[in-house]
Symmetry: C2
Subunit: 369 residues, 2 copies
């Protein structure tokens, strides 16, 4: 593995869209007892269900800590690869490499990771194991890696259409805990240079109470070039309303890198999901303090789906709108089968199905994943 200090865009590399073909997917077996109730027992079952679906059409590699390896190997299908790798938590989207390609070769980007805000407003300390994973994964896959550790970014805070357009949120990328020394313009330039993009669409906000400082992948996602889904509520009394409305206003007045207007499909939000006292009781404290309070609203959203080669895997919450979300996505992805996975036990950890996955784009020459 070569460690590259050059600029991906100048090398002819770009980030493909998630709906482009994948050679595989990276995930992490959950373990953190203050993130996942009851020693991650229920989370592991939910992760395994997601892995089971993705692995029907992609080569899935699951990173498991030494202590969890046997448990992961025992729970997952034999077609899934389990590799030993220490981690602080289990969000592959944010700690695995962001992959770029020139169509023939795959490379990874190793961003700085500081647990969504470092000592400013990060979610745990330390985060060194997580921060080492992207480079280790590139080494494992025998792909060269761009050293961007001086720029703090998580994969969940960006979406690419693969045609020059990046979606992100101001709430996250301009947060004090990431790159406070950089201006918005400098951050935009960095995204373009690293992701091979020509245009960045800045949504103001994400999902209410989203503790990642409102990652874009929980509120808005490309479903095709110049088409997005946006998490939506019609309830003007819901604090989410102004957040979603601010994004809609931007999207309706934006064009993509190719000059096309953006077509916005509203994806309804479930009714507010709150954590129960029993669920909180299953979570270990962090530094003597609880990580969740009974009644706390969780950042539930159907937008947090994963697009695999054959499926779209969408979280379900036991809400009447669950079926609506699946139906809308099925219309938008006519070539894939949309599958729902009951994902409350992933949501309790703070994210959802998109957050626990990281796709590996397919390239012409095949890739060792």
């Amino acid at each position: 593995m070569r460690i590259l200090k050059t600029v991906p865009a100048e090398d002819g590399f770009f980030m493909p869209a998630e709906f482009a073909p994948h050679s595989g997917c990276i995930m992490i077996f959950p373990h953190r007892r203050d993130s996942w109730q009851n020693g991650a027992y229920a989370a592991r079952k939910a992760f395994a269900e997601v892995i089971g679906i993705i692995s029907q059409s992609e080569e899935v590699t699951v990173c498991a800590r030494f202590d969890d390896y046997d448990s992961a190997r025992g729970m997952l299908p034999e077609r899934v690869r389990v590799v030993e790798m220490e981690s602080d938590d289990s969000w592959a989207r944010d700690v695995a490499p962001t992959f770029v390609t020139n169509g023939r070769e795959l490379r990874g980007i190793d961003w700085g990771f500081n647990a969504w805000g470092g000592l400013e407003d990060g979610l745990y300390f330390p985060w060194d194991k997580d921060n080492k994973m992207a480079r280790k994964l590139c080494d494992l896959m025998r792909v060269d890696v761009y050293d961007k550790r001086d720029f703090v970014l998580e994969g969940g805070s960006i979406h690419s259409d693969g045609e020059g357009t990046i979606l992100t949120t101001e709430a996250c990328l301009l947060s004090r805990g990431r790159n406070p020394a950089l201006t918005k313009e400098e951050i935009e330039e960095e995204l373009k240079r690293c992701l091979g993009a020509r245009k960045v669409i800045w949504l103001p906000s994400g999902i209410y109470q989203d503790e990642t400082n409102e990652h874009v992948d929980n509120i808005c996602a490309f479903t095709a070039p110049a088409e997005v889904v946006l998490a939506w509520t019609d309830d003007e009394n819901d604090p989410q309303y102004v957040l979603s409305k601010s994004c809609l206003d931007v999207l309706e007045h934006s064009t993509d890198a190719a000059g096309r207007p953006i077509r916005v499909h509203k994806l309804p939000l479930p009714a507010p999901v709150t954590i129960t006292a029993e669920e909180c009781d299953g979570l270990d404290d962090m530094n003597g303090e609880p990580t969740r309070i009974p009644g706390e609203r969780l950042a539930a959203s159907y937008v947090n789906f994963y697009i695999s080669n054959r499926n779209v895997i969408c979280p379900q919450f036991g809400d009447p709108r669950d079926a609506d979300a699946l139906r809308i996505l099925q219309e938008l992805f006519p070539d894939r089968k949309v599958e729902g996975v009951y994902a409350r036990d992933i949501l309790i950890g703070g994210g959802n199905i998109h957050c626990i996955t990281q796709q590996i784009p397919a390239v012409d020459n095949g890739v060792h994943i």
Copy 2:
């Protein structure tokens, strides 16, 4: 990765000779402070030199513990892959899978490993991390694995000519600490069934003071079909003499699986190598007891070489016979360049260059290593 309970020989699989083409090599970054003096500082340099040579013609994968990963990555060339994997010690020959092939597909054998004798006369406790590595490596490589954990064997205790003949030692395979419930005939049958062999040549002994119960790979190795090198001393007062002589007697009266007599090339032993007080001082105690005593004779042998695609890498001890060993091997391997590596700092750990490597045979369809 499928876990197979079938019999390799019945599936059409066999163990190729080490001198057949490899697709790669597995090694482990050393760390054990009671095996390697001064926190494995000198051992790491010696391992790195071996890795540097092998990686000129093979894809080398080095397993490093989480705590050692950065150190390994920093010391090794970028063409070498480093993967995170916990281990108890660093002998890839004995804990990595033994690979078998049918010419098109590669599979691993996961033998039972109990640190060279378990609670009977094993060298450390516990050995659970080592015992898990073979299966993890198969998973990493996406090759199916034969579950032979009920049969205790180390890769260093067998050599294959790839044409149906296995070399081993009675001292090791019939030791009380491995498979005491099996007769010699049953063990021989197991070797034939697992390695696709028709004949097992039982040498009586190995190298004096070899704490593996005298692995064959320290005293005798195939250099071609029906040709071996045998570690030899002419000094009849050396306790090694009767050991080497007993092997010579067997070899001179043996034929291989194809009915050919075995041609024996004597490889001189270095003068006895003993550990110094200063070296012992650099070793941590184990359970409060020293692992080596000043003046203790180490099991030095030039036979403990590794045959890579382009080289033969032979230990050197600062002995006048070092050059003789290289010269003899160069004559026996005219198509490879013989390279010497000063290996005292590997020998102190109890083995040598062959012991720290495990080749991955090349197969027609290419292999993800």
